[in-house]
Symmetry: C2
Subunit: 183 residues, 2 copies
């Protein structure tokens, strides 16, 4: 039994790759019942959360990038909204309650078929604590952000873009390729 011989997908022996009638992409099709399994990009929801002038960071307890710092973010679940998913991730990873504000950024990571939807959020209190996926959590000022120990480029993009706009609404930012000067 091999379920993951195509990375990131499920392919039990009864499925074969084929192009369904009227389609132009290969799909996994059940050779016995014709059921078509569609694989599509996944959504990551998260939030840059602030309390006064400080920002909430979590240190990852799970792979990949164990020990590096992130804003709270994770895979959106079935039957939730993007805002509810972002607030859930903040609670799960940092045990903080937030009011989700404007959409800060939409990042496309087509090489791993992910779309990241990152909100600006305001903490309802300064309380925070690590959830099971975090080693520690912290509320830090701009000058204390561990720029060299961030888990992903998207974390730096989101922190800098949030600071540029001060959490206010506007057209969401996109991927940023530029190197920023550190403050």
């Amino acid at each position: 039994m091999v379920c993951d011989d195509i990375p990131g997908t499920l392919r039990p022996p009864s499925f074969a790759l084929g192009v369904p009638e009227g389609d132009d992409h290969e799909r996994l099709i059940c050779t016995s019942c014709g059921f078509i399994r569609y694989d599509n990009p996944k959504i990551i929801v998260g939030a840059v959360c602030t309390w006064e002038s400080k920002v909430l960071l979590v240190r990852r307890a799970i792979e990949p990038r164990v020990g590096y710092w992130c804003m709270p973010a994770g895979f959106m679940e079935l039957n939730e909204t993007t805002e509810a998913g972002a607030a859930r991730e903040v609670w799960e990873e940092a045990r903080a309650r937030v009011r989700i504000g404007p959409l800060l950024a939409l990042y496309n990571l087509p090489h791993i078929s992910q779309v990241h939807l990152i909100y600006s959020a305001t903490m309802l209190s300064p309380d925070h604590a690590p959830g099971s996926e975090s080693l520690e959590t912290c509320l830090v000022g701009w000058g204390e952000i561990p720029w060299g120990d961030l888990a992903y480029p998207t974390v730096e993009w989101a922190l800098r873009q949030h600071a540029e706009r001060g959490g206010l609404a506007g057209a969401p930012y996109g991927n940023r390729a530029e190197t920023y000067a550190l403050p």
Copy 2:
């Protein structure tokens, strides 16, 4: 062999529902190899496309809502960006080439686990024609939009929100519950 006994998901006999260690959601887990199959929301990408003051509509040739009118939109595919996916859908459904502009709207449809990302787009020429999923395509002025024959509420939301902003960038709109007065 039953692959679709949970609607919208794949569940061959070797999979069973369970909560993986450290998780708090039920997932489909392979009983022989432990592979976890995650089901997550799907992204619909689309665009309100204009040529001068007219908007591009497509009449659906496929279920659901055959015969009703939409802006071009459909499921985002693996390894593409949201903008590329929106442009691809416009080409597939309406055989029009467009420049994708700002993100117009983000709609949450949690009851069907979909997130709709609708862009404003400008047609590169007035050319359009039905693709295989469309019965017909048209470029219509505001007063000619078939409000009573739109396929989904999101189509009306996107058309009206696009008109409000004239295709310019800004914070993306969200779901609209209000009933609009017809023009």
